[in-house]
Symmetry: C2
Subunit: 380 residues, 2 copies
């Protein structure tokens, strides 16, 4: 186990009717801006719940944080926040609204341009922010990371900052989510765990168990959810699993990969594919290309999550990779670039970008442009 320092101070407020607690959770003297996406919260009742809970409080609203939030939009929100002396942000939405709000929080606290903060990779300061989460997927509600897109250059990069003050997770608000978003949320959760788990074996028994626990849970609940079932217990498991998949709880003392994410971000930036959909396409290929490096963990993952125990080690690894791809397909997602009309031209564009920034991702820092090409070709 490697040395580590862990501290996650976010207050997780989970369950039915918890949006009612908003007024207690936000300091009385906060100068509040509430941030939203495109308007689904006005249809599913979440907007009204939030507004009712904040009756009598002063706040302004900022609307229009898009999926894969654009820095161009964030800059507008930062200006509005500064003009109004905003010192507390409440994001109401999914991971994109949250990620955008993290950059707004950093932008308001700083004199730097928002894209410069993203390129620097971390925010030195952020005003306080919190969330009412509407889509289980990114884990952004309980971590420090955010991913931002610069639309004019088709670039997408992440940065880190501070944790949310609190996040309210009411599984009931997920019932009305479109099936594709649900599928992507499940794929995102599953892949987040794999990025922290499918690395070098024997780093931590207890972290392995916890990572496998999230994977087993998502695998167990996914068929019911995909079939359209929306009961509370099921969506509660999904929502909590998505948060626990990426809130630093399963990465104590272990290395991480994230090369699938870095390749996936390029596919989103260039083609607009939904983030988690890119992961469903790239992750099985990452496994295929790096199966020697990930040998031990692939065997363990196959045995403990997919009950694959028969055959030679090589056969079990191949079956595990097939089962992973099949899991993503069972969610209704495609897993091949060709199915999305993406071919060699895009692959070469991504390789060029990786090479230009001397990319070397993954737990062994060996996913360069050349390896990214192998992975993407394997996804065709």
């Amino acid at each position: 186990m490697n040395n580590f320092i862990f501290q996650n101070p976010t207050k997780l407020v989970f369950g039915k009717g918890q949006i009612n607690l908003l007024s207690e959770l936000i300091p009385d003297d906060a100068n509040l801006m509430i941030t939203f996406g495109g308007g689904s919260v006005t249809k599913n009742g979440v907007y009204n719940q939030v507004i009712d809970a904040l009756k009598g409080r002063n706040y302004i609203e900022f609307w229009g944080i898009e999926p894969n939030p654009h820095v161009e939009t964030i800059r507008k929100a930062v200006k509005q926040g500064k003009d109004n002396n905003i010192d507390f942000l409440l994001a109401v939405g999914g991971g994109s609204v949250l990620d955008g709000t993290k950059l707004i929080a950093a932008g308001i606290a700083s004199e730097e341009d928002s894209w410069d903060i993203v390129l620097k990779g971390h925010a030195d300061k952020q005003i306080h922010y919190a969330s009412v989460l509407t889509l289980p997927a990114t884990g952004s509600e309980m971590n420090t990371a955010a991913v931002i897109t610069r639309s004019e250059t088709q670039e997408k990069f992440g940065f880190g900052g501070f944790y949310p003050q609190f996040s309210i997770l009411d599984p009931e608000v997920t019932y009305s989510l479109p099936p594709h978003q649900i599928a992507c949320g499940l794929a995102d959760t599953f892949t987040h765990v794999l990025e922290q788990y499918l690395t070098t074996p024997n780093q931590s028994k207890i972290m392995d168990r916890w990572a496998e626990g999230v994977l087993q849970t998502v695998k167990e609940i996914a068929p019911d959810i995909i079939s359209g079932n929306r009961n509370y217990e099921l969506m509660a498991e999904f929502m909590l699993s998505a948060t626990l998949a990426l809130n630093d709880f399963i990465r104590m003392g272990v290395t991480q990969d994230w090369s699938t994410h870095m390749i996936g971000h390029e596919l989103t930036a260039i083609h607009g594919l939904t983030h988690a959909h890119t992961l469903a396409i790239v992750m099985p290929s990452t496994m295929r290309v790096l199966k020697h490096q990930k040998h031990g963990k692939l065997l363990q993952f196959g045995e403990r999550v997919f009950d694959i125990t028969e055959g030679s080690e090589q056969e079990r690894i191949d079956k595990t990779i097939e089962a992973t791809e099949e899991f993503y397909r069972s969610l209704g997602l495609t897993t091949r670039l060709s199915e999305e009309g993406i071919g060699n031209e895009t692959i070469e564009k991504i390789v060029k970008r990786f090479n230009e920034r001397n990319a070397s991702y993954g737990e062994n820092s060996n996913v360069t442009g050349a390896v990214a090409r192998e992975i993407l070709v394997s996804s065709l």
Copy 2:
């Protein structure tokens, strides 16, 4: 899943050499008192590591917090703290030093007598405190709870307060622990999980997996540790598992039991048996007496932790309870009251105490004096 609010802000500083970070972790302007137990830290080098790390800082030392810390000792520390305007405490030791320090932190912040704080069940205020942990067992390094003994009346009760600012966990400091303390630490960790897990089934799939993950890990590492192996990876798994067993991470949205602990505290208060040793004696009996109520969870526990899958449900449950008792015995602990010379007189004393306070512990609030008698008789 029940509604819940989770927030654990303790900074966990884990690994080799991390005691060196003490000076960075404690605020420069802190008026510091360091609290210790009986002196083992002077033999194993931890005292010197702490003092070296704090070179140039002002502090006072308080020595002599005993196992099952006595309120009588704590009162002395509180007086010394108040006399010296102490505003930050650093506990250096195991769970008892930590628990005692939690009450010192509450006593210094309050005008109340320390035992009144314990009887009230919670501290309204505490001065900041932190720890350098030397014994993996109680989880006190990352939770709000503490258990205190009043020696003059042979009473032992818990209270809750605030989380430690930070805890430093260096697995290397555990190498020199006496075998009995190691065995008790493993038993304590295992039982903490069972108190939060072995309740009503189907409350949370993901919490079940995480609880089972700690149980599986402890079961896997215990034989090696008990055989005398002290390698770093092994002790790191043990130390991290002990913390994760009782830092609120595995209890989100689920009910808890704790009746074994309440009975065990009486055995410690009356007979001085080591805390975890009482758990090894009581837990198998709690399972036997409440096996109908805990039916579903016993089956799941048996299957997932002890690989018990053969036989009728009743047979599997009986095998699971036997396996649990055998696990405690494999640590070198006795599991029967008679082995410790404890008989009916003590049982009746405990029943009387339970009845006097109208006790009704456990996830269904049905462990009364009468049920405690059944459990203790089953432990004879």
